[in-house]
């Protein structure tokens, strides 16, 4: 799987791509875990952009549960945004829609968690950064 992230002030935005199933969940976890501490840039929270994730299995949801515990344990927030319809249904069937905040867009998620992060997102990446 492909996964990138960027710091937006006090929130980290994570962008995974592809299927998150039992074959790649360990990689998803390895990439996510370093971002969960306050020193990982997510002092206010973490937003996962699921726009380009077309499937999330139980083992991927387990990683989200670990992230939720870590973040909520220190008073930070976690949100997922821009879910494809199939992934949205998986969240509902698994009852993860009661575990993680869900937003229709990354912009909406950032605005709810941190105005600073939302402003940074609107400004876009600094010149020279892809």
């Amino acid at each position: 799987m492909e996964i990138t992230h960027r710091a937006l002030g006090d929130v980290v935005l994570v962008n995974p791509v592809g299927r998150i199933d039992y074959l790649v969940a360990a990689e998803f976890e390895r990439n996510l875990m370093p971002l969960l501490g306050a020193d990982g840039g997510s002092s206010r929270g973490l937003v996962i952009d699921l726009q380009r994730v077309d499937y999330l299995s139980s083992v991927g949801l387990r990683v989200l549960m670990l992230a939720t515990r870590a973040l909520k344990g220190r008073g930070a927030r976690i949100a997922v945004a821009a879910l494809q319809p199939v992934v949205g249904e998986i969240f509902a069937v698994s009852r993860f829609d009661r575990v993680v905040e869900i937003f229709p867009s990354v912009r909406a998620a950032l605005a709810a968690i941190s105005p600073t992060a939302a402003e940074a997102f609107e400004r876009g990446p600094p010149a020279g950064v892809a």
Binding site: Y22, S58, R62, I90
Partner: protein
Amino acid sequence: MKSVHFWGTRGSLPVALDAAQIRERLVTVVRASRERALASDADVDAFVDSLAFDLAGTFGGHTSCVQIDTGEADHVLCDLGSGLRPFGNAAMAKHGVSEQTYHVFMSHLHWDHIMGLPFFTPAYVRGNRIVVYGGHPDIERALRRQMDPPSFPVPFDTFNAAFEFVHLPPGIRHEVAGMFVTSLKQRHTGDSYGYRFEKDGRTVVYTTDSEHMLDDADEVRTFAAFFADADLVIFDAMYSLADAISVKADWGHSSNIVGVELCQLANAAHLCLFHHEPASSDAVIAKVLDDTRRLEQITRTGRPLKVSAAYDGLEIVL
């Protein structure tokens, strides 16, 4: 193998609809009938048949007891929950006191899986034979203990049927009651065992009280192999996934989502949700069933997986 009959499908504790729930249903049904012409008995039957299962029926409240009709004379059961009592009554009605043999495969020895035995009438009939199989070394002790004073007024030795206890080591294909039976040790407090039954080209897997460690790829592969190409997988789907891996982690149960995923990996034909949460109403179980069917549909990559939810009295023809 011809069919599977569910006599008890509820997890942990027997439950029943109470008076307020029955009344609520009656009110709902009568209101729904206002617009219908119900002049004849046939009209009434058609109206009742048109209602949702969670309104016109019930998933029931007996604890685990599942019968496999192998097509042979001997009876085959999985677990001795409270559903054993109606099974025993049906067996008595059909066979009377003629000598019968019952083969019983025990998932484990927790109370909800053994509580039906004291009320199993065929156990009191001389000439009957009851053979109990399992991976636990102390099955006989557990069955005797629940009938010791002060827990029960009738001691185990009152039974007139001949009991035998057979230890089944997991991972070995045994020939029992005309079937091939393989067991698998599962994650549950005190361990539990799942069973794979094979006969006449048909395969049934009974896997209850089993928690799955989602991050353990070896375990996923082991269960997928155990379920491989099964015609029917009877699966512990007691909790939602969110509960199973958070507030109810280490409680020893699984979810509908994991059931779908393992059956899809295993190329199984039919997933039957089992060991329903006792706190769940019929409407909640029906919703879980609908959700699970939808999940199977939207995540399907290979063979379609039929999904059903077990209820007391359900018969699945293989």
